[in-house]
Symmetry: C2
Subunit: 351 residues, 2 copies
């Protein structure tokens, strides 16, 4: 058995692979491949409708929320958000918690003013800032709920009257939270939602883009809403894989059920690492991500040995991101508890 | 047997479906799905490299051409081209040959001046204009080589010193032409290249974006070139399907071989329709698309009968685009000659 700890694109449920594989040969007994059906057919509309309904149901979204499946990854949203919501002389408030936040800030500066309300750069992004003021005149407040690379996760939603925009790419659907508190949620699909090549974007209807610049059609959220994510040919297969993954999540009990398993996996891995004399998790305990466990060793030679051992034991994707080094073990929704256990057994045996 | 005449997403080779289906369960005997491999692995890099090499080889591109696989469809390119190449007071020359050209023109107007050098609107876009002047000071000249909706195809490349930008979404790889004449070629993949959700963009290195505006990273061709189409997580599976389809095209003899078959299919279908008293192709003979055959009938009742008959005979996707009506039969690369013949037999039998 291969244990896939990839940070994204990452493991998806076995059932999803099986169903997607079948649908490429024969989608819903049509005799056609999912890759060759028209997007403006009842066949695909049913897929898109079901995906949207499942998002609404699983996240318990209220009726003000519009659900879009858009081309591109979160990197596209980094600029699409300020392009739609931030006018030249307006200010967007941003939290700087790592590489994704930095990129979002860089793109926002192309469109308006950016106020970085807090940063964890002082300690190498190993924690999440908690005390900061979000200026009341900010157009929105933006943060990254889970930092894939640095291994931190933000478990609170700030109390503010400013609309909140969140990049939830790497922890969406992994734990319960009040998703209705957000004015805009975006997430690249390739971790907990589905396959790479599509973005899930959830916008509150009351959060309206009012900017002076003219927007290209494909960048205009309102046009996508008006056209039900079908402004142009959507990434059909990627949306289909999302739908299958959402169906799977519902079948196992939804977010409450997966959160329990995710907590179990994270507890297992962090406690194993904490108890081990050689491994050192880098992140402050209260901010440790349940999705991406980042840790290092003090001896580079030992690091190499452990990496080789993981490889030998069919553990894939444990190498840390090139910007941080060390190790990263990703525990996304689809990673079975068995894989987390297998990793812990291996780590315990290492000396 | 189902005959799939969809206009896009459309039929792909049977071999591609089979290989893609397998790769979702077990990619290259890795024991992993193509959907769960990291994009910064040698596994995916090999896919991307092979896709690029095949494009270069099949289209006989010179070394000045950069090959990109980008998120989104042609609709994204409609604005990305002027955003990169057209400054506020500069002029882009555009040919207006139908819905896609109109959309490209609309987006270009957001960024600079547009000079529509010619239009076939006067005769409902049923032909391709031939005599027009491309102003020497235009930053580029843009046209759509095949109009999927109206059924026209432009078989000549204008003589001009102005850099040419072409939307080749629906006839790329279908016939020989001097692809090196273009400064920029773009094409949504979902007709002749692969599955929906990725764009092929080919840029000449000498065609440099020089604009005053600041570009979002994801919209900046130069950044994509510098990062080898890996500025962010690419649509992994969509790129993989492109690679498989390009491999298939090479295996059957490349563009010269497929062009012969495409010509045969088109000749068969048009001659059948021309000879039939009830069917009426809408496009001027010399501008008839080999990819999308558009035709109508004068009697709406007969149209309905024929549509029902097609459905009964497992012919999918023959209904005309909602904006034109009548019928459209798409004969993309992967459509077997047998399907074109089956359609002709059915058409001949109809009275």
């Amino acid at each position: 058995m291969i244990h896939n700890f990839n940070a994204g694109p990452s493991i998806l449920p076995k059932e999803v692979f099986e169903q997607a594989s079948k649908a490429i040969l024969n989608f819903n007994n049509t005799g056609l491949s999912i890759l060759e059906i028209g997007h403006r057919t009842s066949l695909f509309e049913a897929v898109l409708d079901e995906a949207r309904s499942l998002v609404r149901e699983l996240m318990q979204l209220n009726d003000d929320k519009e659900i879009l499946f858009l081309h591109g990854g979160a990197s596209t949203q980094f600029f699409q958000v300020p392009m739609n919501f931030l006018d030249e002389h307006e200010t967007g408030a941003y939290l700087d918690c790592g590489i994704w936040g930095i990129k979002a800030i860089r793109e926002a500066k192309l469109f308006g003013n950016v106020n970085v309300v807090a940063s964890s750069k002082d300690r190498n992004y190993t924690y999440v800032p908690k005390d900061y003021v979000i200026p009341a005149n900010a157009k929105y407040f933006h943060y990254t709920s889970n930092n894939t690379i640095e291994g931190t996760e933000m478990f609170y939603i700030p109390e503010t009257n400013v609309p909140i925009v969140v990049d939830m790419s790497s922890d969406i659907l992994s734990r319960q939270t009040d998703f209705n508190r957000f004015s805009l949620i975006y997430a690249g699909a390739q971790k907990n939602i589905g396959a790479a090549g599509v973005n899930l974007v959830i916008i509150d209807r009351n959060f309206k883009p009012v900017v002076n610049r003219k927007l290209p059609s494909m960048m205009d959220y309102m046009q996508h809403i008006a056209n039900g994510s079908m402004l142009n040919t959507p990434p059909v297969f990627a949306v289909y894989v999302c739908m299958l993954t959402l169906r799977w999540l519902k079948s196992i009990g939804g977010i409450p059920a997966i959160e329990k398993i995710n907590q179990q996996k994270a507890d297992l891995v962090y406690s194993t690492l904490d108890a081990h004399p050689l491994f050192r998790p880098t992140v402050a305990k209260e901010d440790r991500s349940r999705m991406n466990v980042v840790f290092v060793m003090d001896d580079p030679e030992k690091e190499k040995q452990f990496l080789d051992l993981c490889k030998k034991e069919n553990m894939v994707g444990v190498k840390g991101h090139r910007s941080v080094g060390g190790f990263r073990v990703s525990l996304y929704n689809a990673l079975p508890l068995e894989s987390a256990k297998a990793f812990c057994d291996l780590a315990k045996s290492f000396n």
